[in-house]
């Protein structure tokens, strides 16, 4: 197993697979989290009705995802890519759920 992993071809294949998962899956999770967070923040910050905030956040999420996809394949450091996407995902989802909990008073 270790010998297979040490071959240059195998290492390249693994890094490509990790990048595909990070850019496509991680990029989606991060943009969905940012949409959820924006839908909670916009009604307070911009005094938008909740339904309008939901639609605006969700439509912009496609462009955010597109940007993350492009960056996901352009970022030279795979480690930095994974770290930043994880950070954005945790902060956005955590923030969105936190605001829901705050609003319901729990």
């Amino acid at each position: 197993m270790q010998r297979i992993l040490q071959r240059p071809g195998a290492r390249k294949a693994i890094s490509v697979i990790v990048r595909l998962i990070a850019a496509i899956g991680g990029g989606y999770a991060a943009s969905a989290g940012l949409a959820a967070l924006a839908a909670r923040v916009l009604p307070v910050a911009a005094a938008m009705p909740p339904s309008e905030a939901v639609v605006l956040a969700s439509m912009l999420a496609f462009l955010v995802y597109l940007g993350l996809l492009i960056w996901g394949f352009a970022e030279p450091s795979l480690v930095r890519l994974c770290l930043i996407l994880t950070a954005v995902g945790v902060v956005s989802w955590g923030g969105a759920f936190g605001l829901v909990r705050l609003a319901s008073g729990g």
Partner: protein, 512 residues
């Protein structure tokens, strides 16, 4: 990853294109055809090649069908009213055995015989957005993935492009095939860029609540109806009372709906819970004159016919979403724009096909020297998804003209037989492409030419609507348009096949 920004974008463009190009071509091709879905319906269902109604149609003549739907305990009864593109009235309800579709002649009120085809609106159009894969919405997600890839391809294509302005004016058909396909790829890509990008983005935005459910699910605690009630301001009781109830005059409700919208034409009548004491009649406004695909509707209490509520317009952000949806759906009345959409859709198909060809042509020699199989696999994929898709579509049209009404075989009804013809022929084109790699492009081009020409001829033989006749009646122009496109497509395919069969080309491919 590759070194440098441009190199990594090149990598992304190449591999996203090779892996998802087949799916993208299918979606673009079906979307391009769906621009004329109602016209394809008329071609494939000759009984609805009707002239526009001379006098206003009385919805009361649909009452017997309504009673049938109510007796079958259908959850809904839906009536699609005539438009400029489609004279026939479309009625739909469901019972235990499935959905029942009926076409009605607006001149006589007569129920027309079942055409036994899914045609444009029920096969080609849904294929475009969900590939007819219903399980777990997989079809929608595959189309969504391909659409995101298309936008990434649009962006990376611009980045890797060195001389956009020069290539705008560069087309060198006399050069080597590799140069030619790259020129064609660049010209269609650059000229069509704004359309390709916007049509893809607007297609995604139509299904925003499927693709990005996080925002509405979190805000509305997973309650989709609560979101819709909030966004569209309509709270309509959904439940059945269980007691039977009558139905007031449809015509009276329709004229009331026209009155509140100052004479606007109507698009549909939709009854929820037919035959129930709590039935609701929803009447939609026809948005022929604007781009937006609005949700404007009036709601009536079924048994009394009293207006419950009506609305015009939506809040600003939702109006942007409805504008983008309408931009994509092109339900507005504008024939020049419709043809431009069709032409730009075709440039998208050419863009994807030439992208494949460029990948193949630039690797053919090197792969042959190294003994790699990549070119052969991708070439089979490319042939099957490009010319194979065209063959399957033409075979769908030919089968439609050959199968008699009410045909049944292998336990499948006529409409299913047409669809099976499409899929089996499509599958066969992949097998053919892998079995005869050297001649696949040429032979499949000949097949497209033969089938498209046969479809136009069969239309003449089976319906009598030849070109001279269809061009001389306004209501048959859609038939003439479809026949002309079939014949033009046949000619283009034949010319391509002839050029592909030139000895130099075959020898070169064989040599490789």
């Amino acid at each position: 990853m590759e070194q440098g920004f441009r190199a990594s974008m090149n990598w992304l463009h190449t591999w996203a294109g090779v892996v998802l190009g087949g799916l993208l071509f299918a979606i673009f091709w079906m979307g391009t055809l769906a621009v004329f879905d109602r016209e394809i319906d008329r071609w494939m269902a000759p009984m609805i090649r009707l002239p526009a109604a001379e006098k206003p149609f009385s919805l009361e003549s649909l009452r017997p069908l309504y009673e049938t739907a109510a007796a079958a305990k259908s959850p809904f009864f839906s009536v699609g009213l005539p438009t400029d593109r489609d004279a026939a009235i479309r009625v739909l309800w469901s019972d235990q055995s499935g959905q029942t579709h009926r076409f009605i002649d607006p001149n006589t009120g007569a129920v027309l015989p079942d055409p036994g085809t899914l045609a444009g609106t029920r096969f080609i159009f849904p294929f475009h957005y969900m590939l007819h894969i219903r399980a777990e919405n997989i079809g929608y997600w595959l189309v969504g993935l391909a659409a995101m890839a298309m936008m990434a391809l649009c962006v990376s294509g611009v980045i890797i492009h060195r001389k956009i302005f020069t290539d705008f004016f560069t087309f060198r058909p006399d050069r080597k095939p590799r140069r030619l396909v790259l020129d064609l790829h660049n010209v269609t890509g650059v000229l069509g860029w704004p359309f390709h990008f916007l049509i893809t983005l607007s297609g995604l935005v139509i299904f925003w609540s499927t693709y990005f459910p996080s925002a509405w699910q979190l805000t509305y605690n997973g309650d989709r109806l609560a979101f819709f009630a909030d966004a569209y301001g309509n709270v309509v009781p959904k439940g059945r009372s269980g007691e039977s109830g009558g139905m007031a005059s449809f015509d009276a409700m329709a004229s009331e709906a026209r009155r509140v919208w100052e004479g606007s034409a109507l698009r549909y009548v939709f009854v929820r819970n037919p035959g129930d004491a709590k039935s609701i009649v929803q009447i939609g406004r026809l948005d022929e004159g604007i781009v937006s695909s609005t949700y404007d509707a009036a709601y009536f209490d079924g048994p009394t016919g009293a207006l419950i509520s009506y609305k015009s317009g939506t809040a600003p952000v939702m109006s942007v979403q409805r504008f983008l949806a309408g931009f994509h759906f092109i339900q507005f009345r504008h024939w020049s724009l419709r043809w431009i959409y069709f032409g730009l859709g075709l440039t998208g198909c050419v863009l994807i096909a030439t992208g494949y060809l460029f990948w193949l042509e630039s690797r053919r020699k090197k792969h042959a020297q190294l003994g790699l199989k990549g070119v052969r696999i991708v070439e089979g994929l490319a042939v099957g998804s490009v010319t194979g898709m065209l063959i399957a579509t033409a075979a769908f049209f030919v089968a439609n003209r050959l199968l008699p009404l009410g045909a049944e075989a292998f336990g499948l009804d006529r409409a299913a037989l047409e669809v099976w013809t499409f899929y089996l022929v499509w599958l066969a084109t992949f097998a053919h492409a892998w079995a005869r790699p050297q001649r696949a492009w040429m032979e499949q081009c000949w097949t497209v030419a033969a089938l498209a020409c046969a479809a136009a001829l069969l239309n003449w033989i089976t319906t009598g609507d030849h070109l001279v006749r269809s061009l001389s009646y306004r209501h048959l122009w859609p038939i003439a348009g479809m026949d002309i496109l079939l014949l033009a497509g046949s000619a283009i395919a034949a010319v391509s096949a002839l050029r592909l069969s030139r000895p130099s080309r075959v020898a070169r491919v064989r040599h490789a």
